[in-house]
Assembly symmetry: C2
Homo-oligomer: 137 residues x 2
DNA sequence: TGAAATTATTTTCCAAGTCAACTATTTTCT
DNA sequence: AGAAAATAGTTGACTTGGAAAATAATTTCA
């Protein structure tokens, strides 16, 4: 531990996050998809018709940032907006056919990078990591 | 685990990182200092005269981003640049008196948030976390 | 009821980040 | 030596992110 900031938990966490994020970014880049875009696709694929607010919370983005990213996703034909049924202020998002197709194309990419981490750490360490990280929130 | 992306390690890591980063950002905001600025101050305080490239690696930033942040830090009077002695292409950075003073002011802020995590997790869990995160890089 | 407060999302304006190209210096290699 | 390649850092054009204000719809409650 030659450098002092390496002893801070926030730093170690940031460093590990950066490494994993960059590796995932590189893998998804070949498919022209951003990590955050993948998160939205994955979330909507599992549970369609999420509102912007709920989605922002899940995909770890601030609402204004999500709005802009969704603008781009709409332009790319991956999702479309629909005014909320019971509450007109809300906006529900749903995948288009292309969105579902794109999701199917990249799922393997993400899963195989996740498996790589699994193999690197081993099952019990992954469980431990999840447990500890969960307590930080 | 209601949402599927919560089962991805990269996601859990991103979520924990976001939580910790936001909390540190909020604590430092009162002193008008960005997390990345703190990292530079802390690094230079421990080992003065780092080059831009080495510093970028340590503080987890891309070189162009660091250049621009250092521009601001120079304007704020926290650091100053000096052409490399043996290699004229290199730029060495050093803290100004104000930079050292600012560092002294915020060290407690960062350390107390780190201690909060320590207390939350306990010593052995922190060690385990550091160990696991270290293997991700 | 209906004015005031609250909530969901977007917009605006500005600050910060990225990629690729560029400058300057040093190294390599014939 | 000296031309070509490599390296350190910065710049410029463009994109993205963020805080606060704005808009629109819903709730609250006197």
């Amino acid at each position: 531990m030659k450098n002092p900031i390496e002893s801070y938990i926030s730093y170690t966490l940031a460093a590990a996050h950066r490494a994993v994020h960059q590796s995932l970014t590189a893998a998804l880049k070949e498919h022209g998809v951003q990590v955050e875009v993948w998160r939205v696709l994955e979330t909507l694929d599992a549970e369609p018709s999420q509102t912007m607010g709920e989605l922002a919370r899940i995909v770890l983005m601030n609402p204004p940032t999500l709005t802009k990213m969704v603008d781009r996703m709409v332009m790319d034909g991956l999702v479309h907006r629909q005014a909320g049924k019971s509450d007109q202020r809300q906006v529900n998002l749903m995948l288009t056919d292309l969105g579902r197709k794109r999701m199917a194309q990249i799922r393997d990419v993400v899963q195989s990078q996740d498996e790589a981490i699994y193999n690197l750490l081993g099952e019990s360490e992954v469980a431990k990591l999840n447990d500890i990280l969960g307590r930080l929130m």
